[in-house]
């Protein structure tokens, strides 16, 4: 029986993109359903009643929520193609630890484009500290997963298409502070699974302009 895979997502969400990258890495066909978070669909509310958020993966009718949990699920079910988590338990633990850490970028990034003045400066500082630590974790490896693109690469790379928006509103340069990270993100973009899943940074920038207007940020 063919697998039925549906992804409830929002085009601009870097968390949703993580799932898209994972699905592409595994060469899986799925149905993408764009969600309107201002007017949540009955399906979204049924499949994620607890958080009512995207992304939600629906595999043969059963929902899985939370992007990193979804990516691990995908990796475990379709384990014989492009494994994302390393096989060594210690390296797996490190990948999970740092992947959870990347989640901090979501809220810090939001504060970057939602706030001004001192609040924004604090968010910017926190954001850059996170990126620097992650850059340190990358070291001289081509990918966080070592020679191969892996779980932590998936977790972080989707934020890279948001860098331009963060930089514009936060008035800083990721490349100036974390050149190795930017080089890594370009390396990842050479992969079809990444380039086909990440959105155009200019479009993301436009999305943020729209969100700021909607939320009344001057």
């Amino acid at each position: 029986m063919a697998d039925e895979i549906i992804l409830l997502d929002l085009w601009a969400s870097m968390l949703g993109m993580r799932v898209r990258v994972a699905l592409a890495e595994k060469g899986l066909k799925y149905e993408y359903r764009e969600q309107d978070l201002r007017n949540k669909s009955p399906l979204l509310l049924e499949m994620n009643p607890v958080h009512k958020k995207i992304p939600v993966l629906i595999h043969n009718g059963k929902p899985i929520c939370e992007s990193l949990i979804i990516v691990q699920y995908i990796d475990e079910v379709w384990y014989n193609k492009s494994p994302l988590l390393p096989s060594d338990p210690y390296q797996r633990a490190q990948a999970r630890f740092w992947a959870d850490y990347t989640d901090k970028l979501y809220e810090l990034g939001r504060q970057l484009w939602l706030t001004k003045g001192e609040e924004q400066e604090t968010a910017k500082k926190g954001f850059m500290e996170c990126l620097k630590l992650l850059e340190g974790e990358l070291g001289d490896k081509p990918y966080f997963g070592g020679q191969n693109f892996g779980f932590l690469d998936v977790a972080l790379v989707t934020f890279s298409c948001w860098f331009f928006a963060y930089e514009s509103f936060g008035n800083f340069s990721v490349e100036a502070e974390c050149p190795k990270l930017v080089a890594w993100s370009k390396r990842c973009m050479e992969k079809e699974s990444v380039s086909s899943s990440l959105e155009d940074p200019l479009k993301i920038h436009g999305f943020v302009i729209m969100m700021r207007k909607e939320l009344g940020v001057e």
Binding site: K62, I64, P89, A93, R96
Partner: protein, 220 residues
């Protein structure tokens, strides 16, 4: 060999306790390093520079931080008596609910404790709703893990600790009339052999909880 396995933790930390329960369930010998959280050891700070918290697990000299990540590591390294479910979907559900406990329930419980007069009722209502949502997941089972303790029961220890220690805070958040199923589950967990051996004595926990909150909020 016990000397290869070390756990840096605190007797008063439910997160440390989670790891201890799993080590007990798997019969793994380890060296327990008790940390004074008001005066963290250089070794702890070296092994967990990012979060500087307990527990930290050391195996063959390599550190792992974050209780749930440590538990997954232990489960993958010592494969007998598996803690996580075998089926990927069940694993995803266990991880989802463990995250819900840590990221939703715990902060909500704290909020009720720290809330001012005006916000307390709303904070309590929110915590109650979250606890109800968790309770529904038991769905007639003895434990979240089924017939025996599993990953989510271990992660749920913070709820058990709340039930035990709430009287020290003069509150009844986990009211057994409101949450009969969760209350019964707590009793079953408290009765479990491994859990019993690891749980700090009730009076010690109550005294610690009381003192900690008086330091925070002033005497009640």
């Amino acid at each position: 060999m016990a000397e290869e396995v070390k756990l840096f933790g605190s007797w008063a930390s439910p997160y440390t306790s989670r790891v201890k329960v799993v080590l007990k369930l798997k019969g793994i010998e380890y060296e327990n390093v008790e940390e004074d959280l008001s005066n963290k050891s250089p070794l702890l700070l070296k092994y967990n520079p990012i979060h500087k918290k307990v527990p930290v697990f050391l195996h063959h000299g390599k550190p792992i931080a974050e209780s749930l990540i440590i538990i997954e590591y232990i489960d993958e390294t010592w494969k007998h008596n598996p803690i996580l479910p075998i089926d990927p979907y069940d694993r995803a559900m266990a991880r989802f609910w463990a995250k819900f406990i840590d990221e939703k329930i715990q902060p909500a419980v704290w909020k009720t404790l720290l809330a001012g007069e005006n916000e307390r009722e709303a904070a309590i209502e929110e915590a109650h709703q979250l606890l109800k949502t968790l309770e529904r997941e038991l769905n007639g089972k003895k434990f979240f893990g089924g017939e025996s303790l599993g990953f989510l029961d271990v992660a749920g220890n913070v709820v058990v600790w709340l039930e035990v220690s709430q009287e020290a805070l003069g509150m009844n958040l986990l009211d057994k009339e409101k949450f009969p199923i969760l209350h019964e589950w707590c009793q079953r967990v408290l009765d479990d052999d491994a859990f019993k051996q690891v749980m700090p004595p009730k009076e010690k926990l109550l005294a610690f909880t009381r003192a900690r909150f008086e330091a925070f909020l002033g005497p009640k």
